[in-house]
Structure formats: structure tokens, C-alpha cells
Amino acid sequence: MTTGQSAPATPIPTGQDPRLLRRLLRAKDRIDAASHEDWPVSRLAAVSGVSVTHFAHAFRQAFGLPPHRYLLTRRIERAKALLRDTDRPVTEIAFDTGWNSLGTFGRTFRDVTDESPSAFRTRERSLTQGFDRVPACYLNAANRPDLNIAVSEKRRQDRDNKVPGSQAMEPL
């Protein structure tokens, strides 16, 4: 830009079109309503009326995390609620919240929350609850993992922190 050009008084918003965002929200709402279902990008893109090529990027730009990771946070949140509020076996909860195997559920749950499903259940039950007047959806949202990095990245970081002599253990 040359000095002769005057900058606009207010910068042009760089955000996304609210009408597009409203359609992306529809896909997020659908995940919220049925997080146990499979949500391939093609299905979500169709809900939003966005091309498959653009959907994941647009979703991430709008909501701060990619759609598959958002789905994961909702599944973990729901699994936590079921572990806390019901006596159902962990296996049943794993399948009901959208996982295809108990092993994948247990491993992912541990990677995300740093404790096993049964340890979470035991710990939660030992706490006195006093939240009768708070809507359940609010309580559950407090249990939603804040997955600001990919699970694979979190797994790698946790591993590095545990192994002596790795790059993460640089001397001060």
C-alpha cells in the first residue's frame, strides 16, 4: 500500500457470512442431537449445504475445532454423564455413545481425560452433588473436554512428558 492511499475508517470484517454460519450451526446442532451416530464429513456438509471440500475448514473456522474433534468432545461428555448418573456397564456406555469397541472407547477416554472410565465413575460418585437447580445440560457441558489440540498430539505430548531423556525433558 502506498502512503497516498487512505485506509478505510473501519476494516472490512474478515469473518464468515452469518448465513453460512447459521447453516454450519445446523450441522453442529445435528451432532449435538445424535452424537452416537456416525458423522462423516459428507453427511455434515449435506446438512449445511456446503461442499465436502470446504466443510471441515469452514466448520473449524467457525467453531474453533474440526468437526470430528467436536463430535469426540460431545461423545466424551455424554459418556461422562452416563458414567456418573447411571449404573450401566462401561461396555454398554461405550457402544451407546458411538464407539465401535470397548478398547477404543477406553483408550480415547483416557487419552482425553487422563483417567479411565471406571476411575472417573468412582471419583465422581465420591463427590457430594449440590446442583439440583442447575439444568442438566449446563452440568454436562462443564464436563465437556476442552480439546484444543488433536488427541494424537495430546497422546504424543503425554508420552514425551513421561519418558525420561526425551526432548520434552530439556534441562533448564
Binding site: 473501519t10 452469518p18 446442532d29 449435538d32 467453531f63 442438566a136
Partner: protein, 135 residues
């Protein structure tokens, strides 16, 4: 009662669209619809709650600069505004009636903790929960 909350406002992207939704689909009554140039003061009321107005306001200059208005529209469209809750006598009946009118439900009626609730959104992205207590 002389002291009470009188107006609470929502941001909507398009006031004509919001009018059609809140009056045409939800069955709210118009309390005030006053235009002054590009500016429009629009409030509606629940038919059984005459002391309370819900404002349907468009974020716009000169109250907000263009960038702020755009940001507010984006936030509403992303569902980032706080939830609104409406009490109903029969959640499933209300759900059927509103769904038939084309209201976009995001959660079908669910019975839990002695209540039945369902969720919908307005065209701008504001989220509502309807709750039937003691069901």
C-alpha cells in the same frame, strides 16, 4: 406489580424474518413496531405474558459500527448467545404444533428429571428450550 423486568432484547439478523417467526410461527403478539428511517424498534409478547416484551433488535449502525454489527450477527449465527427458556403446559403438543409450522427443532421432546423439554432455534440462531415441568 409496578416493578419488574419489562424488555429483554435479542439480536436478530433480519427483523422481517424474525417477525414472521415470532409472530407467524410462535404466535407471539406485536407490542411495538416503530420505524425511524433505517432503525426499527420491534418488540413482541408472549400472549399470556402481557407485562413482558421481547425485543427483536438488529445490530446496526449507528448504535454499533459496521464491524461490531457484523460480529454480533456472526455470534448469533454460531449459536453463541445464551439460551432462552419458555415454560409450556404440554411440551409434546407444543413441539408438534411448532414443528408443523416449520420451526427448526434441534432436540425432540425428552423426558428427564420429571420434566419434558425440547429445543429449537430461531432463523438467526438464537436457541430456545421449551420446558414442561412436573410432567
Amino acid at each position: 406489580m409496578s416493578e419488574a423486568i419489562q424488555v429483554v432484547g435479542l439480536y436478530v439478523r433480519d427483523q422481517d424474518e424474525a417477525y414472521e417467526f415470532y409472530v407467524g410461527k410462535l404466535g407471539f403478539k406485536v407490542h411495538t413496531d416503530q420505524r425511524n428511517g433505517d432503525y426499527r424498534w420491534l418488540t413482541v409478547q408472549h400472549p399470556e405474558q402481557p407485562g413482558f416484551q421481547l425485543g427483536l433488535f438488529r445490530p446496526q449502525p449507528p448504535v454499533h459500527d459496521a464491524v461490531t454489527a457484523q460480529t454480533l450477527n456472526e455470534l448469533v449465527a454460531k449459536g453463541a448467545m445464551p439460551p432462552l427458556v419458555m415454560a409450556v403446559d404440554d411440551c409434546r403438543a407444543t413441539y408438534d404444533r411448532l414443528r408443523d409450522k416449520g420451526v427448526e427443532f434441534t432436540q425432540e421432546p425428552v423426558a428427564r428429571y420429571g420434566n419434558v423439554d425440547a429445543n429449537f432455534r430461531d432463523p438467526s440462531g438464537n436457541g430456545w428450550k421449551i420446558v414442561q415441568e412436573g410432567a
